[in-house]
């Protein structure tokens, strides 16, 4: 079974982002970037499946990223974590790739690669769209399991425990299938130095959207990006009594 894993390069989750002075975008130049945390979980899950299933069951783990040249960094991270091979669909710097386009690019790659399982993060922490995996499932007509917290693969079938608003639900999907990862799925490993060195020798193929016959078109025009309204400064209270009094008389929420 071949597993295809999606990875996105995003501004690191710990960075306090800033909106640029023209209010057109979030400042991304000279800001620390890393692999989207949910995608790191996706790579980890693929590697764990290989370790968990009978030897040879997972024939290959392919990591795929779409974006500018620097995306190769996150692909190297995925290779260092245990992916065998990477594909980079390269677009010029500052090209906007909306989820539907990424899904189309992934769909074109998936049709060539024929993976049995596609693992993607549930959302990217920059655009917070939460769409790509579902769109890809629609384009490929694969079954989907979203926000997966636990995954079992056996008999050409995936059984996934998915986080829903009130708790958990279990679904089964015939393979080929797409799953999107939730935070609880696993704890990603750190790439060790020897593995980082080995990753440099693993194959990383470059493709262009034209190779995949996908037109890059933006359907959403960003008119403005701004910081949300700041909350007015609060006050510190000295005791429980004072807190209750403030909540009753001043804030009137009790």
């Amino acid at each position: 079974m071949k597993i295809l894993v999606g990875v996105k390069r995003v501004v690191d989750y710990a960075v306090k982002i800033r909106v640029n002075s023209a209010k057109t975008a979030v400042e991304t130049a000279n800001v620390k970037h890393s692999i989207n945390p949910f995608d790191e979980i996706a790579v980890e899950e693929a590697v764990r499946l290989r370790e968990k299933l009978p030897k040879g069951s997972v024939s290959e783990i392919v990591a795929l990223s779409c974006g500018p040249a620097k995306c190769s960094e996150v692909l190297r991270t995925a290779l260092a974590m245990g992916a065998d091979r990477a594909i980079h669909v390269e677009v010029p710097q500052n090209t906007t790739l909306e989820p539907l386009i990424v899904a189309k690019l992934f769909s074109a790659v998936a049709k060539k690669e024929n993976p049995s399982l596609i693992i993607m993060g549930k959302q990217a922490i920059d655009d917070d769209a939460c769409q790509t995996g579902q769109m890809l499932a629609g384009l490929l007509d694969y079954p989907q399991a979203n926000f997966v917290a636990k995954l079992d693969v056996a008999d050409n079938k995936v059984t996934a425990s998915c986080e829903i608003d009130g708790g958990l639900e279990t679904v089964e999907c015939e393979m080929p299938a797409i799953i999107t990862t939730d935070l609880r799925l696993n704890e990603p490993r750190y790439a060790t130095l020897p593995n980082i060195m080995k990753a440099k020798k693993k194959p990383l193929d470059k493709l262009t959207p034209a190779d995949l016959k996908v037109d890059i078109i933006s359907k959403l025009k960003v008119l403005k990006v701004e910081e949300p309204a700041k909350r007015k400064a609060g006050i510190m209270v000295g005791s429980v009594e004072e807190l209750i009094k403030k909540l009753r008389d001043e804030a009137k929420v009790l």
Partner: protein, 347 residues
């Protein structure tokens, strides 16, 4: 694809749409384009009860000015549809009463939505940005080649929306060029629709044939008497500093005293102090209650993303430098194990 397709009533429906648009025209945009607008809302329900977030989504749909249709699917759909027909702003309820729609699998629901959208000529298709809306709508959007707009918090006109990005640290105003706008709605950003005295017509629709390659096996839903986290007026949340499952009980006691819901930070959930479904934040629930009490929560970016639109925020933490105090209206520095029981007793 449909066994019994519904026909529009031609001129009469056009006239109705136009008069509707004029009523709304002062609110948004031009009358001419408004006349062609219509919205379709996917209504979530469970145990014959409409999901509260769908009421917010229906309200958002009324902002476009055109007629609003509501789609209710599942084996209880007929009963839920009767409730939906009584909601303000809903002009028509479309019912797909068939057990195949139970458990809302994206594979089954996306083609149904596509068929109903086609029948109703809806220009806007909306669902809540809930776990169900999030899994169904993008699949539908891909089927009709539309770039979805997720988690909107404001509607500026029929094609322009505001949505949070980067865990709510920036707000993006986007204009969609798609003919059919596919939208998920942040429920806390819109009020709920009220009920009305009359009932709107209910229309049956049948299912497009889909051979699903997925199966729903079962669910474990946390049952309780507490109000729903996403729509509660008061939320009391605990973080890592509660230290244990027993420690988390004092959070629950305070919530019960206040008649509020219980929330948690990721740290508390990961440590196993409470259930996953209580997590508030970028990857959990987004809440905006009147009162949010954060206890033993440091206030990481990802947690703030889920609660910083609360009307009043109270923080109780022993570390005076915690980032949570920067967003709190009222802060109290001290040991939660003495403060919270005292607060519960005196409130």
């Amino acid at each position: 694809m449909f066994l019994s397709a519904t026909k529009s009533t031609g001129l009469r429906s056009f006239a109705r749409i136009t008069s509707q648009s004029i009523n709304f025209s002062s609110a948004l945009g031009r009358v001419n384009s408004r006349a062609l607008l219509s919205s379709l809302v996917y209504v979530e329900h469970k145990n014959k009860i409409i999901d509260p977030a769908s009421l917010n989504t229906l309200y958002a749909a009324t902002k476009f000015g055109g007629p609003v249709s509501a789609l209710v699917a599942g084996s209880d759909a007929q009963q839920v549809a009767a409730q939906v027909a009584q909601l303000e702003g809903v002009e028509k309820v479309i019912v797909a009463n068939n057990p195949v729609f139970d458990h809302e699998r994206a594979e089954i629901m996306a083609p149904l939505l596509a068929a109903v959208q086609k029948n109703t000529n809806a220009t806007h298709v909306l669902a809540s940005h809930s776990s169900v809306g999030k899994r169904i709508l993008p699949r539908f959007a891909a089927l009709i080649d539309s770039q979805q707009i997720s988690d909107i918090i404001e509607i500026q006109n029929e094609s322009t929306f505001v949505r949070p990005i980067y865990a709510g640290n920036a707000l993006e105003t986007v204009q969609s060029s798609d003919q059919i706008k596919v939208i998920t709605v942040r429920s806390t950003a819109f009020p709920q629709v009220a009920t009305k005295d009359s009932a709107s017509p209910i229309e049956d629709t049948s299912a497009p044939e889909v051979s699903a390659k997925s199966n729903w096996v079962g669910e474990e839903v946390i049952k309780g008497d507490r109000p729903d986290l996403a729509s509660a007026k008061i939320v009391v949340s605990g973080g890592r500093a509660v230290k244990s499952v027993e420690g988390f009980e004092i959070i629950q006691k305070l919530a019960d005293k206040l008649g509020g819901a219980v929330g948690a930070s990721r740290a508390a959930v990961d440590a196993g102090y409470c259930d996953n479904s209580l997590q508030v934040g970028q990857t959990g629930k987004i809440v905006a209650p009147n009162l949010y009490i954060a206890i033993g929560i440091s206030g990481a970016i990802q947690h703030l993303a889920g609660m910083k639109d609360s009307k009043v925020i109270v923080a109780i933490n022993k570390d005076a430098d915690s980032p949570i105090f920067q967003v709190a209206d009222y802060g109290l520095v001290g040991d939660l194990f003495t403060i919270v029981p005292e607060l519960t007793e005196k409130i």
